[in-house]
């Protein structure tokens, strides 16, 4: 069994730690998600959402490199993501690509089936503690990687020599593929963080602050949204993104499943505009937007893939929030037809608006 898994931003680092620690052999699909998208768009249903198309491209690339089993997480709705495993299996089957899928979710057949899947995933490891240890280590790495990314968000707009952060960070994303296991990757993260801290920054600068909200895949996977977070940083904007890989793993998958308390401040913040959970990350989008506004951010950018159901609802209620809290909100919708230049024009115009607003409030 040679495993593979779909890309989503830096999740490959977390997955790598998990599989390294379990001692399972695996293939990481090439990092280029734009190419994966063009492959996936050929075979996926036209109106399927973007992440499904990218996933398919990742699988087909990994299959060419010898992978035969796919590891993904699942869900039970109402967002389409919960049914990805079945639709993807159907498409691969009709393409004649023989790949198994291990979906980590609560199956219809009950919890015993889930245990069986984990058992299979861990290479039939009998030592339960080793499995739990590997999961814990992976969760810890995901938190460290997210912290590292936050550090780049702070450094990028303030650095005096433009491009310093990008050089260090993209080198990290390449080098991490050669690091091995929890210890190796943790060391690399530590070194990278030190390098980032050593970058010369202009401390007097007060950059514009923009909160990025929206559907998890397109916000976390920077390449899908034309490296929006990086581009904004290089235009002198400090970005923040409340939805993270580690938050998703720790809050969404563990704490929720084990019924432990976790931060639900966004639920209350969203309440005046969106009363209930409707699936996906709509509640997070609306709640985080309200929280960003209260924290004094200059603007909010919502990103989602075309036809994403929960985010369409969020988009419909955001104008009210924007009016009430007096904060500009821009929505960017992404699909395989999106062109980078058009988006950059819109982003630059949005930044001009934010700049003027700030000047007016000071002057």
């Amino acid at each position: 069994m040679i495993l593979t898994f779909p890309h989503m931003g830096n999740t490959y680092i977390t997955a790598k730690v998990l599989l390294d620690e379990l001692g399972v052999s695996y293939v990481i699909p090439p990092l280029d998600n734009q190419e994966a998208l063009s492959i996936g768009a050929r075979y996926a249903p036209e109106l399927a959402c973007l992440p499904l198309k990218i996933n398919l491209g990742n699988y087909i690339k990994a299959y060419e490199q010898g992978a035969d089993t796919i590891l993904i997480t699942g869900g039970c709705g109402p967002c389409r993501f919960g049914y990805y495993s079945e639709i993807e299996q159907g498409i691969l089957r009709d393409l004649g690509i023989k790949m198994d899928v291990i979906a980590l979710e609560k199956p219809d057949a009950g919890l015993l089936e889930l245990m069986r899947r984990i058992y299979r995933l861990s290479g039939y490891e009998k030592n339960v503690n080793r499995v739990i240890g590997a999961v814990k280590k992976a969760a810890r790495i995901s938190a460290l990687v997210d912290e590292l990314e936050r550090q780049t968000f702070r450094t990028r707009p303030r650095e005096t020599a433009k491009g310093s952060t990008d050089r260090i960070y993209s080198a990290f994303r390449e080098n991490v593929l050669n690091a091995k296991g929890y210890d190796g990757i943790k060391k690399l993260i530590g070194e990278t963080s030190e390098k980032l801290s050593a970058i010369k920054v202009n401390r007097n600068q007060t950059p514009l602050k923009i909160g990025i909200v929206g559907e998890i895949y397109t916000t976390i996977d920077s390449a899908t949204s034309f490296n929006l977070d990086i581009k904004l940083g290089n235009l002198g904007v400090e970005v923040d993104r409340a939805v993270t890989v580690s938050g998703w793993i720790i809050d969404h998958m563990f704490k929720k499943a084990l019924r432990l308390p976790y931060d639900t401040g966004y639920v209350d913040a969203a309440k005046p505009y969106l009363k209930t959970m409707i699936g996906g990350h709509a509640q997070e989008t609306v709640g985080h937007s309200a929280q960003y506004a209260d924290r004094g951010f200059d603007g909010i950018i919502q990103i989602y893939p075309l036809s994403c159901m929960p985010e369409i609802v969020a988009q419909s209620v955001l104008p009210g929030l924007s009016r009430d809290k007096d904060i500009p909100v821009m929505t960017l919708i992404i699909d395989e037809m999106s062109g980078e230049a058009g988006y950059m024009t819109r982003i630059e115009a949005f930044l001009d608006v934010l700049d003027r607003r700030r000047e007016r409030s000071i002057g």
Partner: protein, 339 residues
């Protein structure tokens, strides 16, 4: 709180938009509100104006049916004391409806100004079979404080109204001839199939070709539910599991000549259900299958051509398949979603 208390006395006319869940639940809702002494005001039938108003008010990315629903809400403004837009999170065990149904009242509030009071009781029967009654208590509290009355109104509504289709769903009499009659199954959401303005009179166009139309509502409900659980992972959308179950039922039958899948552009649920059903049918049986995607830019001439071509193809393969093959193994493969 004062609005709610006042509501008990003022609200006499409750408006129901003729869109989305109207096509499934209107009969029950009408009984429920009338039992509580309210007058039900229904929005007008979908028209060009209603579509235009809805398209203008709604975000571009929503599906066509949601946009039309917005138009119906606008149509009701000034005609009713309140508008009933329930939050349909789930109407069946372990299944959801669609995120947009769950957030519908929020979407309407966020997009249309000057609305009357909106009754947005949440119907959630995913884990709780009493979810319907709970929603009834909430919705009914705006008309009466008598919980027993609400309960009896709810029971009457479920008994006499559940599963009753609205007038739009009825087939006109006398169109079909017995000789050479085809049977075409049409899979799609009720609100896409029965709103003849939305789909440019699609069902009657098929009937005009002397083909009987069979929709999901005409199949046996119990066998649909039974068959929907036979796939490895059951669909978690109410419509999805219904459509998959229905596809199995249609494959079992020998009298179906072709299957049409009708969806609205941008419908997330349909994008997956359609793909699943199409692959299922193609694997199991050599049966003509086509997809029709509708939105506010659809042209009627294009629709006519596609329906005529679909029916012609079915008739030709019946008539002269030996002399001139009008279908092959992969004839429609990969071309179904064009247009």
């Amino acid at each position: 709180m004062s609005i709610i208390l006042m509501g008990c006395f003022i609200m006499k006319k409750v408006g129901i938009p003729r869109g989305l869940s109207y096509y499934e639940f209107y009969a029950a809702w009408k009984v429920f509100f009338e039992e509580l002494g309210a007058e039900v005001v229904l929005s007008d039938r979908t028209s060009k104006k209603i579509i235009d108003d809805g398209v203008k008010a709604c975000v571009d990315e929503a599906c066509f049916a949601v946009k039309i629903f917005f138009g119906h809400v606008i149509n009701l403004m000034g005609r009713a004391d309140c508008i009933f837009i329930p939050r349909l999170t789930s109407i069946s065990r372990n299944e959801y409806v669609c995120p947009k149904f769950g957030g519908l009242p929020d979407m309407v509030r966020g997009s249309i100004g000057g609305l009357p009071f909106i009754i947005d009781a949440e119907i959630n029967m995913r884990k709780d079979k009493n979810g319907g009654l709970k929603a009834a208590y909430e919705a009914g509290s705006f008309f009466t404080t008598d919980r027993a009355l609400i309960r009896s109104a709810y029971n009457k509504a479920v008994k006499s109204g559940y599963g009753v289709l609205p007038a739009e769903a009825a087939a006109p009499a006398g169109v079909l001839k017995n000789e050479g009659r085809l049977k075409i199954a049409v899979i799609g959401h009720g609100y896409n199939l029965y709103d003849s303005c939305l789909n440019m009179n699609l069902l009657n166009k098929i009937r005009a070709e002397n083909a009987e139309v069979i929709t999901l509502d005409m199949l046996d409900r119990d066998s649909i539910i039974k068959r929907s659980g036979t796939i490895p992972k059951k669909m978690f959308w109410n419509f999805g599991s219904k459509a998959v179950g229905a596809a199995f039922c249609l494959l079992d039958r020998q009298d179906i000549d072709g299957i049409l899948y009708v969806m609205a552009f941008g419908c997330g649920v349909d994008s997956f259900v359609c793909d699943y059903v199409e692959r299922l049918i193609r694997r199991e049986k050599d049966l003509p299958f086509a997809v029709i995607t509708l939105d506010e830019h659809s042209g009627e001439a294009g629709l006519n051509t596609r329906i005529e071509a679909f029916i012609d193809m079915i008739r030709w393969r019946k008539k002269n398949d030996i002399n001139l093959p009008s279908h092959g193994q992969y004839l429609h493969h990969g071309e179904s979603s064009a247009g």
